[in-house]
C-alpha cells in the first residue's frame, strides 16, 4: 500500500504498538502482532481519530482488523462530505 494516508497510519501504528515500522505491512493486525490487544486497539483507534480529526462508527471499528482495512476506512471518510 502507498499514499499519504497509509504513510501516516503505519507511523502512528508503529508508535502505538511499539513496533518497528519495517515490521508492519497492510496485513498486520491483532492476530499477527503480539502487542496488539484490545486496549492497544482502542488506543490506536483514538490516536487515528485525533490525528485525522474524525470519529469512527462502532461498525467501522469492527471492520478495522488490519492496517490495510484501517487505511481504507480512513480514505472512505476523506472522500465523504462529513469528513473534515
Amino acid at each position: 500500500m502507498t499514499g499519504p494516508v497509509w504513510e501516516q497510519v503505519i507511523q502512528i501504528a508503529a508508535d502505538v504498538l511499539g513496533a518497528e515500522r519495517a515490521s508492519l505491512d497492510e496485513h498486520s493486525g491483532p492476530e499477527k502482532i503480539e502487542s496488539w490487544d484490545s486496549v492497544q486497539h482502542l488506543n490506536l483507534m483514538l490516536a487515528l481519530e485525533s490525528h485525522f480529526s474524525l470519529q469512527f462508527d462502532p461498525d467501522e471499528m469492527d471492520k478495522m482488523t488490519t492496517l490495510g482495512k484501517i487505511t481504507q476506512v480512513i480514505q472512505a471518510h476523506a472522500g465523504s462530505p462529513s469528513s473534515s
Binding site: 502512528i12 482502542l42 470519529q55
Partner: protein
C-alpha cells in the same frame, strides 16, 4: 522532520545522553501536541530515561465509572514532561463504591498518595441524566438526596481508611435538558419535571459535594462541567464511544482530561513553580523595545497590544497566589526599564518583580542568577519566553527548569498560564497572598544591612519579634505546605500532608510548633516549623525547617532555644536531631554544630546530633524579642 526527530531521540538514548533525550521528548510533545499517538512513542522512551533523570515519584489511584485506560498513558507522559514519575492504579470498572467502602480493597492496598474519583452523571444518576422527563418533582428531590448521601458516605469512609488526598469529579449536566428551554423556568409549583429544572438538580448535588469537600481535610472537587464547557460539550462528548466502549469523551479531549488531573497532582506532589521568569519583548509587550521604542511597542487595553495586557493580568493573579515574578530579558536595561516604569499599558511595574536580569547574557545564566538571588533552587523556576529557540536552549542547559510553551498567538498567553499546572495551589495561605510584598521588604533589609557598620547592628536594628505556637486549625495548611516546599534550611526534609500533621498534633508525645516573625519592615508570616517527639528522657527533633526568607537572621537560634527550654521543662535531659543531607539542604548542615550539639552517630543516610539540656541548653538571641506564646523561663 517527524521521523528525524524520533530517530535523533533514539540515538541519544542509545548513547546514554539522557538530558538531551529528555529535552528532545519534551520538545516533541510541545511541537506535535499531546495525543494517544505521541504519548505512545514518548511513553516508551521516557520509560528508558526514568532511572537516569530526576523525577518526583507519585502514586495515583483512579476510581471510575467509565473507560480511563487510554487516558493513563497520556497522563504518565504529561507527568514525565512535568517532572513527575506517576504510578497509576486503575480501579475495576464501576466498583468504585466497593473499593472505597472496603478497608481491605485493592485501592487501600496500593497506598495511593492521591485518589481521583471519576464518576459521571450517566452512571451515578442515570435518572437525572437521561430519564429526567419521567420524574416527578419529589422523585427528583429524592435522587438529589440519594446521590448526595452516597458522596458523603464515600468521602467519610475514605477519610477513615486513608490519609491520601481525594479529588472528586463534580457531575456534568446534559447539554440539552429533557424539557428543553422550559427547564427551570416554571414558578417552582406543581409536580412536573421542569419545576426546579434538571440543571438545577445537578447543580444542587455539586453544591453539596463542594461543601462536603470544604469540610473534609484533603478532599477537593474537580469542576468537570467547567472543563467540558471550556472545550464545548458538542466536541467533548462522544455518545457513540460511550455506547460501544464506555468511553464518553472524544479522542481529541482525552489529553485535556489528563492535563486537568495534573492541575491537581502537580501541587499535591509539590512539583510546582515558585517563580515565573518572564521574557519582555513579544512576551510582556508586542514588538522589540530596542527597535520600536517606548511609543512603538504594542501594549494597552485596546487593539493593538490588548493581548499582552490580558496576559499581564493573568500574571498578577499568579502573584496573588504567592508565585514570584522575575524578568530575564536580552535588552538594553535603560530601554526595558523605560517601558516597565513609564508605559501606560503596563499592569506590571518594577515593584512586582522580585528579581530582574536585563542584559545580554544567555538566559540560562540569568535563570541561575535569579535562583541564587531569591534563594530558591533552579528547579523552582518556570520560564516563559515567546522564542522557541530560547526555550529549547534552556531545556537543554537547565533541564530542571519548568519551561512553559507559550503558543504563537499572544491572545493565548493568558489561558496558557491559567491552565498551567506548575502555577496551581490547592490551598492558599495568607503568606502566599503577600509573598511579593515580603520580597519587596527584603530589598529594604538588604539596603539596611549595607548601611549597618556591623552585623550585630543590622540584626538589632531589624527589630525582630518571634511568636511560637503549637499548630492549630488556622495554621495547619501553611505548616503542611512548609514541610512540602522547604528544601534548603531543612534538617530532615520530611514531607507531611495536612492529615499527617494533624495526626501528630493529636499525639501527646509529639509537639508540632510554628514560628512567626515580624520585623520593622513587615510581618514575614509563618516561616518555620518544628516537630519534636519525646521518648523517655530524650526529646528528638523530627523536623526543623525555616523558609529561606528568614535565613541568616538568628531566627533558627530563637526557635531552637524555645524547643530546648520546653523540652527541659518537660523533664528531658537531652535534645537530639538527625541531619539527613540532600542535594539542597547544605544551608542547614552546620545548624547543630553551630548551636553546641555534638555528633553522636554517623550512618550512611546522615548524622545524629545531641545537646545536653542539663548543662548546656541553647541561648535565645538577644536581638530577637519574645512575642506572645514564647514564655520566658528562668
Amino acid at each position: 522532520m517527524r521521523d528525524q526527530r524520533r530517530a535523533q531521540i533514539d540515538r541519544w538514548i542509545s548513547q546514554g545522553s539522557w538530558q538531551e533525550a529528555l529535552a528532545g521528548l519534551n520538545e516533541l510533545l510541545a511541537v506535535e501536541g499531546l495525543s494517544n499517538a505521541t504519548a505512545a512513542f514518548t511513553g516508551g522512551r521516557y520509560e528508558k530515561l526514568r532511572s537516569h533523570i530526576s523525577l518526583v515519584p507519585y502514586k495515583v489511584a483512579i476510581l471510575r465509572s467509565f473507560t480511563v485506560e487510554p487516558v493513563v498513558p497520556i497522563l504518565r507522559v504529561a507527568g514525565f514532561g512535568n517532572g513527575l514519575d506517576l504510578t497509576v492504579h486503575v480501579g475495576e470498572f464501576n466498583v468504585y463504591a466497593q473499593e472505597i467502602l472496603n478497608e481491605a480493597s485493592a485501592l487501600y492496598g496500593f497506598d495511593p498518595q492521591t485518589v481521583i474519583l471519576a464518576v459521571d452523571t450517566r452512571s451515578l444518576a442515570p435518572d437525572l441524566w437521561s430519564e429526567y422527563a419521567d420524574l416527578t418533582s419529589r422523585d427528583a428531590e429524592s435522587v438529589v438526596a440519594r446521590v448526595s448521601q452516597q458522596f458523603t458516605d464515600w468521602v467519610q469512609a475514605f477519610r477513615r481508611y486513608s490519609k491520601a488526598h481525594l479529588i472528586v469529579h463534580e457531575l456534568e449536566a446534559p447539554a440539552f435538558p429533557a424539557m428543553g428551554v422550559s427547564d427551570g423556568q416554571g414558578d417552582g409549583q406543581g409536580d412536573g419535571p421542569s419545576a426546579a429544572g434538571q440543571r438545577q438538580r445537578i447543580a444542587e448535588i455539586n453544591g453539596r459535594l463542594r461543601t462536603l469537600a470544604r469540610e473534609t481535610r484533603g478532599v477537593y472537587t474537580l469542576d468537570y462541567q467547567g472543563l467540558v464547557s471550556r472545550h464545548g460539550s458538542d466536541n467533548w462528548n462522544d455518545e457513540r464511544k460511550w455506547r460501544s466502549v464506555r468511553l464518553p469523551i472524544a479522542a481529541p479531549h482525552l489529553p485535556d482530561l489528563a492535563r486537568e488531573w495534573l492541575r491537581y497532582l502537580q501541587p499535591l506532589s509539590g512539583r510546582v513553580a515558585k517563580v515565573a521568569v518572564l521574557d519582555l519583548d513579544n512576551t510582556l509587550w508586542g514588538g522589540v523595545v530596542g527597535e520600536d521604542g517606548l511609543a512603538g511597542v504594542r501594549l494597552g487595553s485596546e487593539h493593538p497590544g490588548a493581548a499582552y495586557q490580558v496576559f499581564q493580568r493573568a500574571l498578577l493573579d499568579l502573584a496573588r497566589r504567592g508565585i514570584l515574578l522575575a524578568v530575564a530579558s536580552k535588552n538594553n536595561p535603560a530601554d526595558a526599564m523605560e517601558v516597565l516604569e513609564k508605559h501606560d499599558g503596563m499592569l506590571l511595574r518594577p515593584k512586582h518583580f522580585a528579581a530582574m536580569r536585563i542584559n545580554w547574557n544567555d538566559k540560562a545564566t540569568s535563570l541561575r542568577e535569579i535562583a541564587a538571588e531569591l534563594n530558591v533552587g533552579v528547579d523552582s523556576l518556570a520560564f516563559l519566553d515567546d522564542n522557541p529557540v530560547e526555550r529549547q536552549r534552556v531545556r537543554g542547559e537547565l533541564p530542571e527548569v519548568m519551561v512553559v510553551d507559550l503558543p504563537e498567538d499572544p491572545w493565548q498567553y493568558a489561558t496558557t498560564v491559567r491552565a498551567c499546572p506548575f502555577f496551581e495551589r490547592l490551598s492558599l495561605s495568607e503568606e502566599d497572598r503577600h509573598r511579593s510584598e515580603y520580597y519587596a521588604a527584603e530589598k529594604q533589609r538588604v539596603a539596611l544591612e549595607a548601611s549597618s557598620s556591623t552585623r550585630e547592628d543590622f540584626l538589632g536594628s531589624l527589630e525582630q519579634v518571634a511568636e511560637i505556637a503549637p499548630v492549630n486549625a488556622v495554621t495547619l495548611a501553611r505548616v503542611a505546605q512548609l514541610t512540602q516546599k522547604t528544601n534548603q534550611f531543612n534538617v530532615t526534609t520530611r514531607r507531611y500532608s495536612e492529615q499527617q500533621i494533624s495526626a501528630m498534633a493529636d499525639d501527646p508525645t509529639c509537639q508540632v510548633l510554628s514560628i512567626r516573625v515580624k520585623d520593622r519592615y513587615c510581618d514575614n508570616g509563618l516561616v518555620g516549623v518544628a516537630v519534636t517527639r519525646d521518648t523517655g528522657a530524650v526529646c528528638t527533633i523530627d523536623t526543623f525547617l525555616l523558609s529561606c526568607r528568614v535565613i541568616g537572621r538568628g531566627v533558627e537560634a530563637a526557635f531552637l532555644a524555645h524547643l530546648a527550654e520546653q523540652a527541659h521543662l518537660r523533664g528531658k535531659v537531652r535534645l537530639e536531631g538527625w541531619f539527613l543531607p540532600t542535594k539542597k539542604n547544605a544551608p542547614a548542615r552546620e545548624f547543630y554544630s553551630a548551636h553546641g550539639f555534638e555528633q553522636i552517630r554517623e550512618e550512611p543516610q546522615g548524622t545524629l546530633w545531641a545537646l545536653d539540656l542539663e548543662t548546656k541548653g541553647a541561648a535565645w538571641p538577644e536581638w530577637i524579642t519574645r512575642g506572645p506564646g514564647v514564655e520566658v523561663t528562668a
